[in-house]
Structure formats: C-alpha cells, structure tokens
Amino acid sequence: MSDAKETQKDLQSADRDGGNSQGAGPPTMSVAEMLAAARGEKADGQQSPKAAQSGPAESVATPALPKPVADRAAPAAAAGAQGTWRINLFETVPLLKRIMKLRSFQFLVVLPNVLVFYLFFAVALFGNPMGNQNLMIMIVWILWWFVLIVFLVPFGSRVWCTVCPLPFFGDWIQRRELVRVRPGKTGALKNEFHGGTRPWPKKLRNIWMQNIGFLAMALFSALLVTRPMASLFVFALMVAAATIFAMIWRLRAFCNYLCPISGFLSLYAMTATLELRHVDGDVCLKCKDKSCLTGSENGWACPWGVYVGKLDRNNYCGLCMECVKSCPSDNISLFLRPFGTDIHLKHYDEAWKAFIMLVLAMVYSITLLGPYGWVKDLANVTWTGNVVGFLLYSLCIILACLVVLPIFHLIAISAGRALAWKEKLSRKKLFIGYAYTLVPLGLFAWIAFSFPLLLVNGSYILQVVSDPFGWGWDLFGTAEVPWTPILPDIVPYIQTVIMMIGLLYAIVKGYEVARSLYQERQSALWSFAPTTVYLCILTSVFLVFFTG
C-alpha cells in the first residue's frame, strides 16, 4: 500500500476521540474529520447533529462550557460580543499583510535564528564552560527568557513559534523546500509532503507530554542555566526530536505534542494582545477547500493542524502565516485585541499545565534567585553529588505541581460550588474553568521572576556578546564591562507591583469566567469567592519569596 493510500486511510479513520478542538486545541482529529466538522458534516459525509445544532462557528469542543468569547464575536467585527475591541492589523498596516504574504517570510525570519542557534551550539562545545561567560546561557536563559515572557508572549502570542529554529530541519524534510510551496496531494492535504505521513497516536493527542517535558526540564533548571553543555544537550535533543518526528509523523507533531516550550507558550498566549483569526466567518462557512487547513498552491497545509474558520483561542496557532498565504479569499488577518481575551481552558491537560507553570515560577524563584543555599545544593546534583537530596527535591516539585496545588484548587472550587448551591455545575467544569485564573497569575509570576534575572545579570550579556566563547575576544568593546546589577535594592518592590497586577488581572478574568459559567450574577460571585481567596494566598506566598 502506498504512503498516500495509507495516509488517506488514516485520515478517513473514524476511530477518533470525537474532536474537542476544531482548531482550538492540539489537533485531536484527523484532517479529514476536521474538514468534515468544519463543513458541518461527519467524516462519512453525514450531517453532524451537534454541528447542525450549534452551527459551524461554535466550538463543539466544550459542550459543557458556554460559548467562548471569540465564538460570540461577530465575524470581522471591530468589537467583540463583550464589548472588546479588535483592530485588523492587515487593514491598518497593509505593509504587514504584504510581508506576511511573502513566501520567503518565514525562511527569512527563521534563518537568522538557525544561525544564532548554530553559534550557540559551537559556543557550548568550544566556549567557556561556565554559564556567566557563555553566550548560549546568557542569551537563552537571561535575555531570550526575559524578552519571551515580558514582551513576546503578552504582546505577540506565539510569535516565537514563527521564528523558532527547532523544526527547521523537520520542515525541510517534509517539504523539500525552503521557500517555495509544492502543490500536490498527500492524503487530504493539497501539498506534496514527504517525510512522515502517519497520524499522531490518538491517545497522545493532548499536551500531557509537553507538561511532563517542561516539568522534567525544570527539575534540572540549576544545571540548565549554568552549564552550556546541559543546555546544548537539551536543545540538540529537541532539534533531533523535531526532525525525527517529522520523518515519522505528519506536520508538526513535535511542536504540537512534545515541545515543552510550545506547551508553555500555548498556555500564556491566551493572554496575548495579538491573534490570528478569520476576518469574515461567512466566508469560511462557504469555503469548500478549507485551504488554511489543507494547503493550496500558495501556502502549505497548516503545520499545526488548525482550521482558522473555527479558531477561537491562541493556544495552538503557531503564527507561521501559511494560512494567510493559502486562503483563497484573503480572509485571514492578524488582530490586535485586549489582554486576556481567551479565557477558557478546555481540558484537564491544560488545567494541569496552569498548575505546573505556576508552581515552577515559584520553584525557579526559590532555587535560582532565592537566598536558600541548601535548596541550590539540592538542585545542583552534578556539583554536590547528593543524589538522594536531588531526588527529594524533585519529588517535592512533582508533588507540588501535580498533586498539592490541584488539591488546593479543588478545595477552592468545591467551596465555591457549595456556596453557589442554587446553580449546580459539575466539579470538572469549575475545576477546568477556574484553572484559567492561574494563567494571568502565572504569567505575571514569571514576569516577576524574570525581571531580577535581567536586572541583576544583564551586564553579563554585554560581556558575552563581545566575547561569545569566553576566549578573550572583545568584538564590540563591551567584554570588560564589569558585572553591574541594576537596581538590586528595588527589585522586590518591582516584583511586588507585578504580582499585585497579576492578582488583579487573575481576579478580573476569573470573574469573567465565573460569569460565563453561571447564569446568575450572585451565583457567579459566590462560586468565585473561595478561588479569589486562594489566589490571594498564592500571591502572598510569592511575595514572601520575592521580598524575603
């Protein structure tokens, strides 16, 4: 059986988990199913009762949850249903649209990053073995991290995925092109794809692997941020995995299901002020080809398996801009929007992502920035050789992420559920729904963590930029800049302000979630009250660690 036939068979397989995303989650359906669902049909061509009932623009992913904000927004509206504004950037800045429509766009933005990553690898192998003298460590874990968490994610959604060099070789293998697009047919896709054509295993169509990956990386954070070779090992593993995945599974299986950075971005991109969406929903409804998903002669099939017609959250759109090129109706654009427009988590894996990320923000703050030498010793197992201590440290983190915080969360939502007894909602709905409150809180906790990282260690960046290998170079005359911590005395105050903003943001957004869950305002208030207390407690714990 040819690969194409196998792919076709895979695509038409009815054995899927029912599709929870419709372009709003990591693809849990085959492309054929998504196409069918997008057209309001079952994969076998029958009309889907749910689709018929709900309409194609409504998420069928969360029947228990109310309609997401974006679903209720009028197509191409300048303002959302809740009075939120949106600015069509392609209309406002036509040059931006022209740039995004360039076939060479992604290549041109990824290539410099490939070069930089390649330089990082060289520096890790041949440069100074100490982190503060090594370009890779300073740029990746201080500068990149700061820029990512403070600017790119809150303002650019998953724009990092646009320029990410990790899947460069995988894409190259699958497309056999660096710039051009190959029209053709690969299963249900309208491009000529090479490399892997198998569908990703059904049971793994979630972000649990990303959760575990990020957690595992975090356990070795002390090693990663101080040893260039450890970082090199992880990044080399990620490049290798992205490439191998592309040779086995179709599209960006690595990015969708394994990349720990992708998981991190998927969660916090929900808060971003940038989104890629369709302009006019009716155009998508009438569109037969669904080229944004399947590709065309102008653009590759969506590497993320997202159908823009029903895209209602930023979580799983990697902003590669292929759909902008492939859409025959020019119906896809970038929009500017208010912070925190996507407010709905939809699955347990996403809820646990929020738990893990919040706890890890705390763990990083304690281990890397805190004054607790004994914690650093426990984390730094390669230096101390204390394996038992490290295992204990790891166990505590794993338990805190996976068990302790979820239990506190469960207690809070159970109390809320009891208080809002007039309107009974399932624990699952509340558990997942209110877990969103940890997204803004977590984002601001990470921002609070990142500020001292840059302020205290920023001067090292000037040094390593001039002397990337630590070989005594002075390319830009900044190699001799002494270590100069900036505003170390007021860092705790900055962190306090950031955390308070995060708390406020979490409460406001949490209340929005509550209002979307409950019909009655009173019930929403009572239901959300214990979660508010729990958010305040979490913030207080952060403040204790930040202010010492």
Binding site: L108, Y118, G127, G470, G472
Partner: protein, 370 residues
Amino acid sequence: MFDKIIAKLALSAVLATFIGVPLASWYYDSVYLPESELVADFARLDANGDSKLTPDEFDSPKLDQDGDGALSLDEFRDGTKVFTFYWSAKKGLSLKPINGMNYWYKGSDQLNEIKVREGDRVVFRHISADVHHGFAFPAFGIPDPDQVDETGLLYIRPGDITKVEFIADRPGSFEFNCTIMCGVKEIHENMRAKLIVMPAGADGNLTQVSLPEVDASATAGLIRSTGEAFDFESLRGHVWVASFFFSTCPSSCLTMNQQIAKLQKTFQEQDVKFVSITCDPQTDTPEILKLYAESLQADESNWIFLTGDLKKIVEIGNETFMVPVGKKTHSTHLILVDRQGMVRNTYKALDADQITGLRKEIVEVLLEEK
C-alpha cells in the same frame, strides 16, 4: 520577484550559515586576533625601546611553529614566545583550551613544563575556564606591584586574559603556580608548572641547562629540630632533596613527608639527605619539629627539619630554590640538589610518576663522580 530571488539563494544561505560560523570564528580567533594582539604588543614594546621588531617588519604570525604549545611570532628573530595557559579548578593547568566539550570529561592535559631560551622575551596569557585563580612567578618578579590588588595577588579572572611578560634572563628551572585556593585542594595544589630556560644555543636537551647553584651564605641562620644552627654549606658534597612544609597541614604536607619517608628508607644506605623547611616557623619551633619528625619515624641523621625566620625562609624558597613559598603556603615540589650544590631538577611530590623520576635521577646523581 523577491520570493523568487530568496528561493534561489535559500540553500546557499543555509550552507553559508553552517560553514560561515565556524570559519569566521576560527579566522577571528586564530588569525586576526593573534595578529592584532601581537602587533599591538610589538608596537608597545617598540615604544619602550625594548623590541627589535617593528610592526613594519611583521610578516604573519606563525602559529606554534615548533609545536611546543607556544604561539610565537617569528620566534627566533625577535625571541618573543607567547604561551596561553588555561586554568581550571576542575581540570588543572593546561596549554590546551579548556572548553564546554572537555570540561566535564575526566582526565586532564596537565601542564608540567614549558621551555624557552635564555634571553627570550616571554609573554604569558592566562585564561580562566571557571573561577578566579591567582598567578605568581617569583623567579621573575611576578606579580609586578602594579598588577596586584590590595590583597597583593594577581588574579586570573574568568572572562579576562591576564597577561604578564618578562625576559628569561638566566637559564634554569623555575616554577609558577596558582596562588588562590581555587577549588578542590588536590587539583589546586597541582596547578603549577616549570619554565625551563635553556641556555642560548642549547638544543632543548634538559641536561644542557645550567641550573642555579644554592647560595649557601643566604641560608645561614636556620635552626634544626635538634636546636643546632644550620646552613647549606654543610650539605656540600652530599646529594640532597629539599622541600617546604608546615606541621599543622593535615593533607598535602603529610602526604609529601610520607613520600619523603619512603625515599629515606629507599636511600638509607646511600649518601642522600633530605631537608624539610617549615613555612610556619611561628608554630613549628625546634621542639615541635622534633615531635613531628618522630611521628614520621624520620631518621634525623639524614633527614633535616629546619625552622627559622619566616622572611629568610620565604627568601630561600623564592630566590634560592625558585619555588613559591609564603606563610603556610608553599610549593609541593621536591628539589634535587647535587653534590656541587646545583639544583638539578624539581619533582611534584604528589605525583607518583614524578616520584619515580626522582628516584631515577637520584641514582644518576649518586653515580656521578664526587
């Protein structure tokens, strides 16, 4: 149109990236930087009137022309030899770059000695691969008072290149070392090497090096553990091995002296004497040295323990034996002196291979005519 151009150039751009990064790094580090650095050095030296070579005469740098690990510019025309040392609290002292790739591997390329010729201008470039290290080369007046900070130490800071230069104005074997407790004691104490200065015209054979003679008059005033006054003149005609220690040291001194105890047993029938000088005379009075000698079961007839004025002892270490000595800090080298009072060689006491070498050379020296 633009896309078509980029599409045509894309593969070349990718290949250029993968080839260009290492090529540019190599060129900058191995060609451009040494050239500009040495030109700068020579220009500076010219301004002082010390160098015979002007930038105009500069051809191109010859990288390690003679394969001795030294980066040299027209080595024999100007006589300047440039060595780059890599210091690491984990790997020790090496001429090979210590980087991310080899830092975590076990084993090391520990440097033992380098060679120059008498009259050479020598430039040492020190690079730390990890923590702060210190550098001292007392035989050539390094550190210069202008280079040290308030602690009196010359630091090798990570991220910097610490440069020192001097004229190898006399033949001999001279030791330099790390002067800061930089990490694990065993590694720190091994972070030392010798500069062998060969007489002009020598072909590199160590035996042709004229070694320093022990100045007996400079050693007057030392006191034995028996309470008797002592000077090195009494050792003339004997083969002897000198070392520095202090009795309260729980690790390297003890190991070193246990090694000497074994050597004493090996050569107890021969005309070999051992001289151990304390570098903590305030604590190590003759009485304490007596007890210390007994604890080592030393035969004090040919193992002499000495104390005295600290200033004098430091002077003996730094100037007579050319090894770094300070209060409670000292070289762990054993210094072999022949019957004529000439320093023949130095050996690391904590290195089993070097001790084997010392045994062999003692035998050779014993076989020489009196």
